[in-house]
């Protein structure tokens, strides 16, 4: 066990970690930040996506010790300061971009990463960027629309197409 320290959602945290402790385990079990999910064991599903130093990372694929000193943002850090939903979160609700909600934290985190790198993506670019994130519920249709809307594109309202 070694001590690992990092900044999570703007707050300095530290905790014990084995060499094999994954970042996602550190967040979920050590910090009680259970919004980040584990959907697979082969780095395929993206349910565990967080931001490390501003980049989207699959937190199941990084050791906690490797995040020593890093700035980490999880889904719990994505709302506005007053607690209201951030732009992407609000778009997911407005466009029904989630059903069971299990893939959703990862989807929001990857969408934020996309829009940071490409503020006005095409449908094709959105679908390509979601390559590492699986959703079993929505068929992606409304996730794509939510991201388009979050990018400020005009998107027909739900159930009005």
């Amino acid at each position: 066990m070694t001590k690992v320290s990092m900044t999570v959602n703007g707050k300095a945290v530290s905790g014990e970690a084995e060499g094999r402790t994954l970042l996602v385990e550190f967040l979920r079990e050590g910090q009680g930040l259970t919004g980040t999910h584990v959907g697979c064991d082969t780095s395929q599903c993206g349910a565990c996506t967080v931001h490390v130093n501003g980049e989207a990372v699959k937190s199941c694929t990084m050791f906690a010790a490797d995040a020593e000193g890093a700035e980490v943002t999880t889904i719990e850090g994505m709302a506005n300061a007053d607690g209201s939903l951030g732009t992407i979160q609000q778009a997911f609700q407005d466009y029904h971009g989630l059903q069971c909600g299990f893939c959703t934290p990862g989807m929001v985190m990857i969408a934020a990463d996309l829009l940071k790198n490409n503020p006005n993506p095409t449908e094709h670019e959105i679908r390509d960027y979601l390559e590492g994130n699986i959703c079993r519920c929505t068929g992606y249709h409304n996730i794509v629309k939510a991201i388009q809307a979050a990018a400020g594109q005009s998107v027909p309202a739900v159930a009005a197409e």
Partner: protein, 789 residues
């Protein structure tokens, strides 16, 4: 003008806020003080005799509390099956014991034979490496037809063979169907496979067992679609715990798609071990473990024959199906290829004579049970493929051939020759709508444009029927169900007018917390925000059968309507007292009670308060309080239907299929929340695209699972699917439930696979390809185009 609240409004989902902020509470998010961790040790051979298991080194390892094997479960029952099918000779199916931990033999890769419980998960995993198991590998039975051949190795030594049952439906029609087929003008025959799938909800299964010696009470947190069903099956049949001492909680559940209906050994284990160890016990499945322990879906091999006259009118239909049960009977497994499949073989058509034969077979594979659609996708796939092939053989347009045989809307209610009565539908209307939204008229031009780029474009349609709103208890009892299939609701009006609705339905993505609230708020004329939906906890909700088979709004919603009607009836009595009016003159609308022809009125909130502070109250006539419960048992199934169209482009160089467009015109009857309904269709269609083009669960001949992770099992990703065009404006309301609803959860997964395959076969029409088995991978398509299929 779309409504902005109540029934018919696309109300935004209230549950989204917690999911979007990381505040959902899924089972793995629950940690109980003092909990220990279970690690299941699973067979790595498909079939083997357990000669010995030495756990001594593992038990001595650091942090280990105990290692359990079958011997620890000698006093408890096996995991039960909830349905007994009677074979065509009148005998009950063969039903093997399914022990919590393997006894004597292991029967599939993943069959657990020991469990290590330790202070931490890593300690449990490390100790598992120290278990010495002498398991003698036996010949594995994988292929279904080989499994029922004479002399085949038996999965269960105490059964007479690997045949679970040989079911005939309708058995009395058998000879008449044979005769009709013999004498027909034309018979189209098709042999096909409905590929084995893994449901793969994104949340893996989890169980946390807890025991409180103070009150001798057990609690199980579990990823279930139906906590009461788990309580009943596990309490009564496995562990012998009376229901009042057993609480089952299924909190936020990350998708189910059928595979979280069933009672699993891991749930019984954690509940049992928590008492044995006097410590809470938690088990979280990894994805790899899910592939070898969650019940799989589909896996049918079928020969179907359709007999027609000169005009293409259907005369008779005969099917012969082998259905894989896997190594043990999962909760509803026997019902899927029989009553959820044979009864749907009439489809949308008038076919006077139908005979369905199903042989259910044990193999050394993971148990197979319901997956989104359960039996109905298998029925629809066969039927809509054979109809398409028949159209080609008869030289009739596939849409026209379907129309010639559709049951007309004037013929409802329509009794099929396979024992069900459709209440309503208008198949020509959904077909018309489908052709419009898919722009079939423009297809030839689009095809020419593709051809100019060297691509083969195809257009395929399918028209489905499904039976939802499962199910009338007296009927399913006759068919072998060991449970009733009603649903329940308690509507509790609080003193200040807010409402808690306790439902036996369970939401794991369907948005009940929103849509159910819309119904109650609409009936009472109050704000939706005043209605809270409580589900997923046997201690807080009345006995209910849960969510599957697109039953929640049709059956659970109906229970809620009945309970709300009782509330309104009682509230009117209170209001009439407060207004000093005759009860028969009291009217209730928009949250106000009024007396016809006067200006007297009382508000909803005043009546609620009076019911709980009964100072001025008709105590001699009615009790205080405002809380009512209703159980609703449906009179019939509901019958959603619809037309689906798919447009694909095939790259002849590689065999790659791209879905360019997908359109769905559904008739779900009345719709509560169009946004949610459309989302259900999107998700179902994506799963159908997965089945048709990508997903395949494959065992090798030794029973090793070759597709045991997302590296090998191809899940549909965002770039595999197009934007969908969906429509639900054709509405023929259900005639026998109070909301006129039919259910929408499975339609997308039922109607889409045949539409996709039909489109690919259409694209390949110049290449003499008649059929390709799903999934239509580039390799399979290319091989078929080059005569190597």
């Amino acid at each position: 003008m779309p409504k902005d609240s109540g029934i018919g409004a696309s109300s935004k989902r209230r549950e989204d806020v917690r999911f979007l902020t990381g505040n959902g509470k899924y089972t793995d998010d629950i940690n109980v003080a003092g909990q220990s961790y279970a690690h299941f040790v699973r067979s790595d051979v498909a079939h083997g005799r357990i000669n010995s298991i030495d756990v001594s080194a593992a038990e001595a390892a650091p942090g280990v509390l105990k290692v359990f094997t079958a011997a620890d479960f000698a006093e408890v029952g096996g995991v039960p099956c909830g349905w007994c099918v009677t074979d065509r000779h009148g005998n009950p199916m063969q039903e093997p014991k399914h022990p919590v931990l393997a006894e004597g033999k292991v029967r599939h890769v993943g069959d657990p034979y020991a469990v290590v419980v330790a202070e931490s998960l890593s300690a449990a995993r490390d100790a598992a490496e120290l278990i010495e198991a002498d398991i003698e590998e036996l010949e594995a039975v994988i292929d279904m037809k080989a499994a029922v051949a004479d002399g085949a190795t038996k999965v269960h030594d105490d059964l007479t063979s690997n045949l679970c049952y040989d079911w005939g439906f309708v058995e009395e029609n058998r000879e008449a169907v044979d005769e009709a087929i013999k004498g027909a003008h034309h018979v189209t025959t098709l042999e096909l496979t409905n590929n084995r799938l893994v449901a793969n909800p994104m949340e893996p299964r989890v169980a946390v067992g807890e025991y409180d010696p103070w009150k001798d009470e057990h609690t199980l947190y579990t990823t279930s679609q139906n906590p009461h069903v788990i309580r009943l099956l596990m309490g009564a049949f496995v562990l012998g715990i009376p229901e009042h001492k057993l609480r089952v909680i299924a909190p936020d559940v990350g998708g189910g798609f059928g595979t979280k209906i069933f009672h699993y050994a891991e749930e019984a284990f954690c509940t049992f071990a928590a008492k044995a160890l006097k410590r809470p016990v938690k088990w979280t499945s990894s994805r790899s473990e899910a592939f070898i322990s969650d019940a799989h879906g589909r896996d049918h091999v079928t020969k179907i024959e359709l007999a027609m006259d000169e005009e293409g009118k259907f005369l008779a239909l005969r099917t012969d199906t082998y259905a894989n049960m896997g190594a043990y009977l999962s909760t509803f497994a026997p019902s899927v290829p029989t009553w959820l499949h044979g009864t749907l073989m009439a489809g949308n058509y008038i076919t006077p004579l139908i005979y369905v034969n199903v042989k259910a077979v044990f193999t050394n594979t993971v148990p197979v049970d319901a997956y989104r659609g359960a039996g109905r996708p298998e029925a629809t796939f066969q039927l809509e493929r054979v109809v398409d092939k028949a159209a080609r053989e008869m030289g009739i347009d596939p849409v026209e051939l379907r129309r010639r045989n559709f049951i007309d809307k004037s013929q409802f209610p329509y009794a099929t020759p396979v024992a069900v009565e459709y209440d309503t539908g208008d198949y020509h209307a959904t077909m018309d709508k489908l052709l419009e939204i898919s722009d079939r008229d423009g297809f030839e031009a689009r095809k020419a444009e593709s051809a100019a780029r060297g691509k083969l474009r195809g257009f395929g349609v399918a028209h489905y029927i499904e039976a939802c709103g499962i199910a009338p208890s007296n009927l399913v009892g006759q068919l072998g169900a060991r449970a009733g299939l009603y649903e329940s609701a308690t509507v509790r009006v609080n003193a200040t007018g807010s409402i808690s609705v306790m439902t036996g339905s369970h939401s794991h993505g369907q948005g009940h917390e929103t849509s159910f609230a819309q119904v109650v708020a609409d009936m009472l004329g109050i704000d939706e925000a005043q209605v809270d939906i409580v589900h997923g906890d046997t201690a807080r909700t009345p006995m209910g059968m849960g969510t599957y088979g697109s039953r929640s709004i049709a059956v659970g919603g109906s229970a809620m309507v009945r309970a709300t009607e009782k509330i309104i009836a009682k509230a009117k009595k209170v209001a009439s007292h407060l207004m000093e009016a005759s009860e028969s003159d009291v009217e209730f609308a928009n949250g106000q009670f009024t007396v016809a022809g006067t200006d007297k009125s009382v508000a909803w909130g005043d009546v609620c308060l009076a019911a709980y502070v009964p100072h001025n109250y008709p105590l001699e006539d009615i009790e205080p309080g405002l809380e009512e419960t209703a159980f609703y048992d449906p009179a019939n199934f509901t019958y959603p239907s619809g037309g689906y169209a798919c447009e694909v482009e095939v790259d002849p160089e590689t065999g790659q299929v791209e879905v360019l467009a997908f359109s769905a015109a559904d008739d779900f009857g009345n719709v509560i929340n169009p946004m949610i309904v459309e989302g259900q269709v999107h998700g179902g269609v994506a799963q159908g695209i997965g089945q048709a083009l990508l997903e395949n669960c494959v065992y090798d001949e030794n029973g090793q699972l070759l597709t045991g992770s997302y590296m090998d099992y191809a899940m549909p990703r965002a770039y595999d699917v197009p934007m969908f065009t969906v429509d639900h404006s054709c509405q023929t309301p259900c005639t026998h439930n109070p909301l006129g609803v039919k259910g929408c959860g499975e339609a997308g997964a039922i109607g889409s696979p045949p539409a996709i395959v039909n489109a690919v076969i259409d694209a390949l029409s110049g290449h003499g390809v008649e059929h390709i088995d799903m999934p239509l991978s580039p390799q399979r398509v290319w091989a078929a185009m080059h005569g190597k299929g």
